[in-house]
């Protein structure tokens, strides 16, 4: 078998052999001439020459490439050793592969989301996401157009600052209207991102607001699917919401916009039709997300300071439009709060850390197996040592075996990961967000796998190899006695490895216990509204090209028709569904309320039709619900929740109080009970409900049903279609399905932590079993003597059990300290349970303790049942 190219190596080896033979022949000839017998001469010459193999070896090292030969020889030898114990080889490779795969899977998810925040963009490390005002986990667009323009034009630290507004719209003009996700973007959008068009061009500066001819840039997949990849599409007119627009360009494949994790299908300028004059000209209309590209050499802190100073000037010039908190802060794209990365950044790194624990634990387990294996091979090692191998060579040899194991484990993990990296998207239930989340398998992941398998190989073979190479060769060879069976040093290392495994698996179990209980608490929590018998269906009214009056008429007709359906109890309209990771926010100025310095005046808002609170079973505490009369002719009215009422009018009656939003005054007519907006474990934000027929924009039909809401879905969809076949209806699904979105991260956390903990538990249990069984076997002789001298079976059982439980105890104590130190890192992901919840801690410790007891019991029982007479004879 040849592993390395030869370069005449074999020839030189042959020649050296010949040279030495000649030497010996001449020496023998000389001696025989002097009268020695051939036999005596041969012996004397050989004695005089010394160790032939060693001379060859030392001489070959002078050739300068001995290490290649040596490595080849070591690899062959290691492969032979591994083949000799297929059980060990298979188990160790499989365990390492699973542990490496756990890490590379989570890393591939991080790689696909946080590390590739804007697919197709140039050096995203220089991009920062701007936020104004109070930092929140799920902020709404923070900037008005005029403020954005000032920041863009007056800063000294950015190469460019872009703005976009994520939205959706209907593509008309084809056989079927189609909902697409779009962004209204500043003209420099693609420039700042560093993206070039595939066809045509992108926007010009003069097109930013209300261009003469409205233009659109198509995304690659939309161009491919809806326009059949028409190469001559540039210059053609297409219809968006029944308005003709001209295609000026097509983006490259993979470009999906600047909001991490969210897909956009096409891009238009900020006000393509000239219909949004209000939000283009008012400084209190916050509707833009803003990203900047820092100039080379400028730090994020300097950029933030520059913008913050500019913002102060703006606030000083227009104080009325900038009440509340206006500080500007920057975030790198990997944790930008806009889009999905804010959620990713709180979840995935923690999961990677947990996966890292699994890898460490696996290394400790494989190291145990390796050590036991080396101890079993101590005679072979001793023989090699006495034949002239030095300690370094032995260690190198043994570490190489570990390296081969971990390399094949890495290769296996690579194959597994190419599948598991794509499983991320499955954690997200069907929802109305155009999520573009998945893992990727690129060079970063491959390098990650290579590095972790290399480290794992080192970790699980270096210690055992170093220990085993230490055995005094002569003693090992002289007597195969119990006194050198592994030696006390090996015993200590074995014990340390078992303790480490238990100590590492405890935090895994604790984390998964906490996550699982969090998931259960979330599922059992009362969100404050009915979600089991509710069906929702979005209707593309506002984007279908109706006039405003036609829209209102259609809304009433939809309400009437759906209400009349059998099985439907209460029907209402809304433009927002709670617990779907989205919300709408606006600055609101309560009359007579003096905000604290830097207090955010943002409130959540939702536009709801009459009977909304009735259908969701949200109690009205004071005042009234909206009625059909709260329409555009009537005075603007509001219903607030308890949080808003308490914050703005503490100790007063909120009814009749006024709130200014968008420069308009709204009167409070009711107070409703708090309900969940985004997450069950959110900190409550003030919520104001507006009348749908005064402010409603998007139309979502919300029906309370008698039976299973899914059964009514087709009927409701048909009923709306009957009113107008061109009317797009989408996202028809039970409320319960939509609100699952809010707990999808808890599901990811508990699913992965649960899998990791299971691996940890199995490894820890097999680890302690293996070591106790091994050490008991080594002590068979001693146990035989004890029994012969009168020790009872119970004594033997106690002896073995105590030995194992002592290790388990130390491991549990260390692991508990470790785990309690670690859980505070996951504290903010938990709900309804403390990070050091005593019930979880105690049950996890008991579970692990019980597993250890069982693992120790089997070897103990075997030792107890031995016949002392035969045990004594066994060495």
């Amino acid at each position: 078998m040849k592993w390395f190219p030869d370069f005449g190596f074999q020839r030189r080896k042959r020649e050296l052999q010949e040279e030495i033979d000649a030497h010996l022949q001449m020496a023998i000839a000389d001696r025989m001439e002097r009268g020695e017998t051939p036999e005596a001469a041969r012996q004397a010459a050989a004695r005089e020459f010394g160790n032939i193999a060693l001379v060859q070896d030392v001489t070959r090292q002078m050739w300068g490439r001995g290490w290649v030969e040596q490595l080849g020889r070591d690899v062959r030898y290691a492969l032979r050793q591994l083949r000799k114990s297929p059980g060990f080889t298979f188990t160790a490779t499989a365990m390492l592969a699973v542990a490496i795969c756990a890490n590379s899977t989570v890393f591939s998810w991080i790689d696909g989301t946080m590390l590739r925040p804007i697919p197709g963009a140039r050096s995203t490390g220089d991009l920062v996401s701007l936020q104004r005002g109070e930092r929140s986990f799920s902020p709404t667009p923070p900037f008005s157009y005029l403020d954005y323009r000032d920041l863009r034009e007056q800063n000294h630290t950015f190469d460019g600052i872009l703005a976009y507004h994520h939205d959706w719209i209907t593509l008309t003009g084809g056989a079927q209207p189609e909902r697409v996700y779009i962004s209204n973007v500043s003209a420099n959008y693609f420039d700042v991102l560093g993206i070039k068009p595939m066809l045509g061009r992108f926007f010009l500066a003069e097109e930013e607001s209300h261009p003469a001819v409205p233009s659109v840039v198509l995304g690659y997949s939309l161009w491919k699917t809806r326009y059949a990849a028409d190469p001559a599409i540039v210059g053609k007119s297409i219809e968006i919401a029944r308005h003709p627009v001209t295609v000026i360009g097509v983006a490259q494949e993979g470009v999906v916009g600047a909001m991490p994790g969210i897909r956009e299908d096409l891009w238009v300028t900020l006000d393509p039709l000239g219909t949004d004059v209000w939000r283009m000209t008012h400084r209190d209309a916050d509707w833009l997300n803003v990203l900047g590209r820092l100039r080379p050499g400028v730090s994020s802190g300097q950029g933030a300071q520059d913008l913050d100073t500019l913002m102060r000037h703006i606030v000083a010039a227009y104080p009325d439009q900038h009440l509340g908190d206006n500080r500007v802060t920057l975030d790198p794209m990997w944790r930008s709060p806009f889009g999905a990365n804010g959620y990713m950044a709180t979840t995935l790194p923690i999961l990677l850390a947990i996966a890292g624990l699994v890898l460490l634990l696996t290394c400790a387990n494989v190291a145990t197996l390796t050590l036991v294996r080396f101890v079993a091979r101590r005679r072979e090692l001793a023989i090699r040592q006495s034949l002239g191998a030095n300690r370094m060579q032995l260690v190198r040899q043994m570490v190489l075996e570990g390296a081969i194991l971990s390399t094949s484990a890495g290769a296996l993990a690579l194959m597994l990961t190419s599948w598991t990296s794509t499983t991320f998207a499955r954690f997200f239930p069907a929802n109305s967000n155009p999520l573009n989340l998945n893992g990727t398998m690129d060079d970063k992941v491959v390098i990650g796998i290579a590095v972790s398998s290399l480290l794992a190989g080192m970790l699980c073979s270096a210690f055992p190899a170093w220990r085993s190479s230490h055995a005094p060769a002569i003693e090992v060879l002289k007597a195969e006695s119990a006194s050198v069976s592994g030696g006390s040093r090996n015993r200590k290392l074995l014990s340390a490895l078992v303790v480490a495994q238990i100590a590492l698996s405890l935090p895994l179990l604790l984390c998964s216990g906490l996550f699982l209980r969090t998931l259960r608490n979330l599922a059992g929590a009362n969100p404050g509204f009915e979600q089991d018998h509710i069906l929702t269906a979005a209707v593309g009214l506002n984007i279908a090209g109706y006039s405003h009056d036609e829209e209102q008429v259609m809304r009433h007709r939809i309400l009437d028709r759906v209400s009349a359906l059998p099985g439907v109890k209460v029907v209402s309209l809304t433009d927002w569904i709670p617990m779907t990771l989205s919300h709408k926010g606006e600055d609101a100025y309560p009359e007579g309320y003096v905000p604290h310095p830097h207090e955010s005046l943002q409130v959540y808002h939702s536009e709801v039709a009459p009977r909304y609170f009735e259908s969701l079973h949200i109690p009205i505490l004071e005042g009234r619900e909206f009625t059909q009369n709260d329409d555009e002719k009537a005075p603007r009215v509001l219903i607030v929740d308890q949080t808003a009422a308490r914050r703005y009018w503490p100790g007063q009656d909120p009814l009749g109080k006024k709130l200014r939003v968008w420069g308009r005054s709204f009167t409070v007519v009711g107070v409703v009970k708090n309900s969940t907006h985004i997450f069950v474990n959110e900190s409550p934000e003030p919520m104001v409900y507006m009348s749908f027929f005064q402010q409603g924009n998007e139309t979502i039909v919300q029906a309370e049903t008698e039976g299973n809401p899914a059964d009514l879905a087709p009927v409701v969809e048909n009923t709306i279609h009957e009113l107008d076949t061109r009317l797009p209806v989408f996202d028809v699904r039970p409320m319960r399905e939509s609100t699952q979105m809010a707990s999808s991260f808890a599901v990811i956390q508990s699913a992965l932590a649960g899998i990791f903990a299971l691996i940890g538990l199995v490894l820890a249990a097999t680890g302690i079993y293996g070591v106790v069984a091994y050490r008991t076997q080594m002590r068979t002789h001693e146990i035989g003597i004890r029994m012969a001298l009168g020790a009872s079976r119970a004594d033997v059982l106690k002896l073995v059990l105590l030995q194992g439980l002592w290790l388990a105890g130390i491991g549990l104590a260390l692991g508990l300290a470790f785990a309690l130190g670690l859980t505070r890192f996951i504290a903010r992901l938990l709900y309804g349970i403390g990070a050091n919840d005593p019930v979880t801690v105690v049950s996890v410790v008991m579970l692990l303790g019980a597993m250890s007891l069982v693992a120790c019991y089997f070897p103990a029982r075997r030792a107890m049942r031995r016949n002392p007479a035969s045990a004594i004879r066994e060495l």
């Binding site: 030497h23 000839a29 002239g388 030095n390």
Partner: protein, 121 residues
């Protein structure tokens, strides 16, 4: 310490000297390994016994440094053997080794044979 380490140490100790002795022996004509051992033993009056574990590594190293060349030839006793010959580069090296050796001997001598009255003053 294993046997091999001992060899290595001896090579290091003798390195300069052994190289010089080998090169000097080859000055008198091409010679094979066994011949070099015998020549050194005879010339030194049985004092220098070169270990094969030092000799062959040294020869192969000298060849890599181009100070000697080797070829396979028949010996007088019809034994095929590898003969080493000193090269021009090797001769230069021998001269510089010799110069250094003489300086060392002189220096060590100066230390060891100090006149008694000088050391008392």
């Amino acid at each position: 310490m294993s046997e091999k380490d001992q060899y290595k140490n001896r090579i290091e100790l003798l390195q300069g000297t052994l190289d010089m002795l080998i090169l000097q022996t080859l000055q008198w004509g091409p010679q094979h390994g066994y011949g070099i051992v015998q020549a050194l033993r005879v010339r030194s009056g049985d004092v220098l016994q070169v270990e094969t574990g030092s000799l062959y590594p040294a020869l192969h190293r000298l060849e890599r440094q181009d100070w000697v060349q080797s070829e396979w030839k028949q010996s007088e006793s019809k034994q095929r053997a590898r003969y080493y010959r000193i090269t021009a580069k090797g001769k230069k090296q021998l001269a510089s080794d010799l110069g250094r050796w003489e300086r060392i001997v002189e220096a060590i001598g100066a230390v060891m044979y100090v006149k008694p009255e000088e050391s008392e003053s």
